[in-house]
Subunit: 317 residues, 2 copies
């Protein structure tokens, strides 16, 4: 486990000994009687974004990273509480752009604004709490008891590559078009709400990949007391990241590191036991490996040789 998860386990888990918290192992808390899931996520200037970012886009990303947790639970978006702390200068223009993005995504995802808090602050600080509606079920498990198969939605690694290209223009050879696409994936992720809901009752577990594929897999492996095995040639890649591999042959391993451990993809990661089957009409689903007895995560290249990454996921600490 990474440092962040260690700190949570050491200091906060002892205070969260109630069934609604799902023992802090999941993407949201689950209130069965009220048919609600609730989750909360922050975005902080100079940690998650730069001051220069368009507030319209920032509002959308704030909503979407929170909705990704709702998607992972298999719930339906319901409403939000919004905390905003921001500098006094230019506050009207900033709020105008921010609330315009908010309005647009609230409409897109059918969300209500229920409340919040506002304060001045030297740096921008945003915190959103999101409510999702559930029926009688949600994805409340974050471990597997069997040697289940491992699946992901969409393409993996785009957001991490986008982040690297945005912060260091010369790190890789890359066409303008691909760079734009990778950064777009970072700035405006698409929460997998429809897939999350369709997987309900059909999978062993489901979570979103917010802290990198290897980070999430390591956590599930440790919770499950199993070993995750994944295969580089099964990991779904976008055209843009494939182009990056072609144009930077000597940096192949660096690119894989970023794809495997970079955060903020907000795709779903889920597991199926041998008895479970996905509905045929689910698009953009890839099987990337399986669990076995053992522990940790093993990554194999196309020759069956083990690829040993330098790090396993993203941690703030």
């Amino acid at each position: 486990m990474n440092n962040e998860k260690n700190l949570i386990e050491k200091y906060l888990l002892p205070l969260a000994q109630n069934k609604e918290s799902l023992f802090l192992k999941n993407d949201a808390a689950y209130f069965k009687k009220q048919n609600l899931v609730i989750s909360t996520d922050m975005m902080i200037e100079d940690k998650h974004f730069k001051k220069s970012i368009d507030p319209n886009l920032l509002a959308k990303k704030l909503i979407r990273i929170n909705l990704s947790d709702i998607a992972a639970m298999g719930a339906v978006p319901d409403g939000i509480f919004l905390n905003i702390a921001l500098p006094k200068s230019n506050v009207q223009d900033w709020l105008k752009a921010f609330t315009s993005g908010l309005k647009s995504d609230m409409k897109k995802f059918n969300l209500k604004l229920y409340g919040g808090d506002m304060s001045s602050s030297d740096k921008i600080f945003l915190s959103l709490t999101v409510l999702g509606r559930t029926g009688n079920y949600c994805h409340k498990k974050n471990y597997t008891k069997s040697n289940s198969d491992i699946f992901v939605t969409g393409c993996i690694g785009d957001a991490g590559l986008g982040y690297e290209l945005m912060t260091n223009d010369s790190i890789f050879n890359c066409s303008k078009k691909s760079k734009k696409r990778l950064i777009q994936k970072l700035l405006l992720p698409e929460p997998r709400l429809s897939v999350g809901k369709q997987l309900l009752n059909n999978v062993e577990l489901c979570t979103d990949i917010s802290d990198g594929l290897l980070g999430e897999l390591s956590f599930i492996a440790s919770q499950s007391n199993k070993q995750a095995n994944i295969f580089l040639d099964k990991i779904p890649l976008s055209f843009a990241s494939k182009e990056l591999f072609m144009k930077n042959k000597k940096k192949k391993n660096d690119i894989w590191e970023i794809i495997l451990s970079g955060g903020e993809d907000y795709e779903l990661l889920f597991c199926l036991s041998k008895k479970q089957k996905i509905k045929k009409n689910l698009n953009e689903i890839s099987k990337i490996g399986y669990f076995s007895s053992g522990k940790g995560v093993k990554v194999f290249d196309c020759h069956g040789k083990e690829f040993k990454p330098n790090k396993y996921g993203f941690s703030h600490f």
Copy 2:
């Protein structure tokens, strides 16, 4: 209305057109079907506290300012979601002290920890979302339709005076004991949960005084299309603030300004129509004035002369 409330009205209220939000006029959102109220409040380094504050105390204050909203709604504390952003240095010691305070107040107020988010940050940023349980009613009105009487709980102005004494040691002559008591009221407010609940169905409206007495009264007056009239000799004062008046006779008006407009008292402000009566067994309740036709807030001294404050409550913007 102050700038903060103006910004909320202009940019956020248009997005909160749903009955659960209570149109952002109240201390919390109300989910009637789920018997829940939900509220959220932030605390930011250098805005609400200094880095040097004891994290144990900070955790308690964070819980209590949020519970004050639950008290104002007449609800029962249920659970919290906690977002923490903090510097990497000394993180273990900080979290140890913070979660110790958290644990102590979670026990005192019978709260569960349901979830949250953690991040690194240059400055400390805290955000809490609190859930409260309700029966079939809560204080969901924030206006009066009649010429109702105005009441408050406890003593007014201690937190504001404590803040001034903490930031400027020489501003007033004050005994060590009184200074300590006033600062204590600022650092560790007592949410009026019991009173809030006992007032259910007996009052026209109930809110907490987080942004100063005059700030809250101005807002209610504008929502009610009425004039609030309050009397300085009716405002309940602590021994410590009375001592301040005695020892600083030339600064009488300055002290009144702070008492009337200083934030963070977290006492309750409520109104009774002429037909309504408080239960006899409620302690620490003071009638400080009444509403009449007109608008704004008028303050009268013991000679019936109008006292005109320089400002009306606290605003972040």
